[in-house]
Assembly symmetry: C2
Homo-oligomer: 382 residues x 2
Amino acid sequence: MNVHKFVLPEIIFGNHTISQIGDCCLRLGASNVFIVSDEGILEAGWLDKVVESCEEAGLKYTTFTEITINPKDYEVEKGREVYLESQCDAVIGVGGGSTIDAAKAIALLSTNEGHIRDYEGVDKIKHPLPPQIMVPTTAGSGSEVSPFSIILNTEERKKMTIISKSLIPDIAIVDPETLVTKSTHLTVSTGIDVLTHGIESYISLAATPLTDVHAKNAISLVGKYLRSSVASQYNKEAKTHMAMASLQAGIAFSNAILGAVHAMSHAVGGRYPILHGDINSILLPHVMEYNLLANPEKFADIAYLLGLKDHNISNMEAGKIAIHLVNELIEDIGAPQKLSELQVDDSEIAEMSYTALHDACMLTNPRDVTVSVIEQLFRKAW
Amino acid sequence: MNVHKFVLPEIIFGNHTISQIGDCCLRLGASNVFIVSDEGILEAGWLDKVVESCEEAGLKYTTFTEITINPKDYEVEKGREVYLESQCDAVIGVGGGSTIDAAKAIALLSTNEGHIRDYEGVDKIKHPLPPQIMVPTTAGSGSEVSPFSIILNTEERKKMTIISKSLIPDIAIVDPETLVTKSTHLTVSTGIDVLTHGIESYISLAATPLTDVHAKNAISLVGKYLRSSVASQYNKEAKTHMAMASLQAGIAFSNAILGAVHAMSHAVGGRYPILHGDINSILLPHVMEYNLLANPEKFADIAYLLGLKDHNISNMEAGKIAIHLVNELIEDIGAPQKLSELQVDDSEIAEMSYTALHDACMLTNPRDVTVSVIEQLFRKAW
């Protein structure tokens, strides 16, 4: 038996919990907070809610909204400058995975010298970080509970994975109300990301009984509520279940890590400004087909979690149905199915495959992978 | 929707993880640790393992083993004296729930003045506690992850429940190897305690999707492995699953709290030196019968988790089968079934019922309860 490690931030989940952020900051000893967000959240009015709560708590604050999707090294380095100038003592991130990853990277740089590149990999952080409170607004990334920050190295066109316990926020505030301002495209894309987190962490080589329970619940909730969440921007029941699915998938992959879909997706996302969930949607069924051999029993479980009723079939048969059910969901909600649709250039396959092979997420993929396997998977997904 | 809060310590689970305790202490900044344990753990050799790991890490240490089952106010106050004399800066607890609860209470008293009685109830602790690392050795209490400490008020013959986030340890080290030295009686008693934690937290009014997944897995693991764990002291597979069941039940009830079984059990345990799990074993089926009305759907789930296959029956029918399956398990492993077996005096029913009604655990019981209901339940259990 391997040793299972399991770490989580304090979690607060529920409608209107965004207004608890000021009190949470006080509880962590903050007096002057740095609020990282993006233009979309500003327009949707959520940043105002956060600022209001901070003002009510008597906190000073500085807002920083210069974050874009697939957040860039120069953005977080600019964030550090503003943080230090403002003499802040805590970091709040409000937004999707990109914004939260950027907020964590700014927290890192606020107490650790050098370039964000210097911290790529596992456990490179030397000095303690300021308190971090994260408020996800997309039901997708799970970054609010994870020890990861994914930042784009713009020089090398490569997504860097930074992993450290110091990047686990102190408090994650998950307010499903924030999801009603999401576009349909974002609901589709982040929903498939949640499914991918659930599936990859469930079949990961580092999965444990503690992560499995959350991964399974996340898969089941996506199967039940992603369609209705895509169908209506205002279906609050569906949004609440998707927020819980995202949180539980985040808890699972934070402790069980992921697999080949994410490794390959990071390689594509490093080169093209495409939503992470859109790339996952294209890759997931092909990688599942390849990985089925590694764990037919868990693939069968996935099929039952997604609605299969027939228990009189073999695990391999049920596992194939799991792939079929994932494809059906992707089709139903209109998620992308081919990389060529997204204008990805196939002359980059060799380089992207090499990058994917060396991504930290590949280490826990349940089936052995080579560069040529990855190339074949990319070609199938074209 | 209520706000769901979820907090956990860092968890390390696996065989031989007890030898990581020294490193964990260093990581938390400790240099001189106070090791709380009991005579049984000393005899079984586990205290030596802990001391060895602390010595290897270059830590100073003081051991304190004057803890008995249903730990007493004067024991933890004595512990504080020794802690302060020894100028320790961290607390380790190694043992069953009694020992871990006592270790937490000593940590509390080391930085907070007055009598342990002064801290009964919710959030009465004023000053931060020293780092706490807990190593459970019984697969029962779940105290290694909980915000509770239950201490006996010897003057009033009453178990006091102390609840505070400060009592959540920093690190829980769960080493299933430690279970092979448990007596059969203790395996039976703590195993039923785990089942009770799983069931009461699952049907609790404060249950959430985050706690439900752990409660369900705990119930299912007890159903599958408690019999074989009782059958053989050396069945390591069964012990590992029971250690995981105990941990997951602990995670569930730490965040969803418990119900009438625990409220009533605390009232009995305050008056008689009986193992907590033995009292739960007697009360659980009767309280389940009473609570069934409150949540037939979740009771039906419990039946399926315990092995029921027939899905063509109503939730009420399945819920009754859940009670039958719990009774069957209790009979199979020879757990106690009547309070009179344990020499409890029935003249104390009225007073114990009054005490139980005011126990913190009663607040989350899914069905309304009055003193006369509790009296009737006690009489049924005689």
